[in-house]
Symmetry: C2
Subunit: 207 residues, 2 copies
DNA sequence: TTATTTTCTGAACACTGTTTATTTAGTGAA
DNA sequence: TTCACTAAATAAACAGTGTTCAGAAAATAA
């Protein structure tokens, strides 16, 4: 059944084509200011064609959301092999911040923008997020076993550390730092990360 | 000129009326899903009337933005009188988080939502934000003089600590914690705050 | 009562996401 | 090649959006 195969392939190609166009437009101008007609124009199809491949505009966002999570997951993979838990934790958080600042619109869409909770929950692809979170918490558990971070609830610690890097990233991305120049912002974020690292090391109980 | 005075007063009342209606609608359903026609309906005026009192929809948002900053500033005022800098710092951060969770849509609009940077900069009312930030940095300076927080750049430290509480708040407000129940989230946020407080106290150099 | 200014509104404009009926193109059989 | 059938693409329409503007209504001044 070569024809059915080709049709399947073409269907996937069309999806990828729409996704690619949407991605570029969204990254350049932001989700809400890009209309379906603009996406349709850029791939030279009519707006209604898009509805044959995606349920609605949010569905496109959701597909990109998944791609972005895969990309982040890919970046973090190498960190998982670091043996020392506190080194791994620090690398994990640094990589997270780097990803956020290197892919601002992606990050925006993953962790800042309003995405109907139902949508994220429904589809099982939120797995990537969950897995990433659990990797963080496991690392924290191992840090605690090594004497770091006292014995606060690992979930609370994971939430706290995640919040720290998310806060840095999202204040930058959403332009809430008019008191600093653009150069300063990233420099200060790095300094803040260093401060966090020092505090993590300082958290070690001395027996 | 009593008539001119009354007209002036009525103009302000009308502005307040629109603002109040918009505030309630925004807080309930979010900025972008509330239309001007809905606001107009709720105050029983035509949509075009609103344009006599506000430049555009964003201008309403901006006015609310300022009201919200005043409210936060008001909450923080009492903390400024705490003598011990580390206590003051902790109170400052806790109050910030409480404000965020008590006024989620307000907080959203102040620190998460896209607000054209130009708009925030232009108007001098960003003073409130700047002043709040400087109060934080000054407190951090005093903490450093008292031996806490080593001697990292105060701006980096302020940015870092602010990011921590902003991260907690915004991950909750933007529903990025499907791995926790609603109850758990706020409990974990409080635990994370306690962890931060412990780390702050731990940061004291031992001479 | 009239003239003038201020306040308000209905209708329109250009846009949005989305749906539906219709047209076009591609496929399999006679 | 011709026919019937299926799948893909579209034009047109719908209900909604923020915003503008000419003209109606109301309030003030003469």
């Amino acid at each position: 059944m070569g024809i059915a195969d080709r049709k399947e392939r073409e269907k996937l190609e069309m999806r990828a084509k729409i996704l690619d166009a949407a991605k570029h437009l969204f990254l350049e101008e932001g989700y809400s200011s890009v209309s379906l007609r603009r996406i349709a124009d850029s791939i030279e199809y009519s707006p209604s064609t898009i509805y044959l491949y995606f349920k609605d505009k949010d569905d496109i966002l959701f597909a990109l959301h998944n791609l972005a999570f895969q990309e982040l997951y890919h970046r973090q993979r190498q960190n998982l092999q670091i043996a020392d838990p506190i080194d791994r934790l620090q690398a994990y958080l640094s990589t997270y911040l780097e990803f956020a600042l290197d892919n601002r619109e992606y990050y925006d869409l993953m962790f800042i923008q309003y995405a109907p909770a139902s949508k994220i929950k429904e589809k099982a692809e939120w797995r990537y997020g969950r897995r990433a979170y659990e990797a963080l918490r496991d690392t924290i558990r191992q840090c605690q076993e090594a004497g770091y971070l006292k014995s606060v609830d690992p979930d609370a610690t994971a939430f706290g550390l995640w919040s720290f890097v998310h806060g840095l990233a999202s204040l930058i991305i959403r332009h809430r730092l008019p008191m600093f120049s653009a150069n300063q912002r990233e420099k200060l974020a790095k300094q803040a990360m260093e401060m966090l690292n020092e505090m993590l090391e300082l958290s070690r109980v001395q027996h």
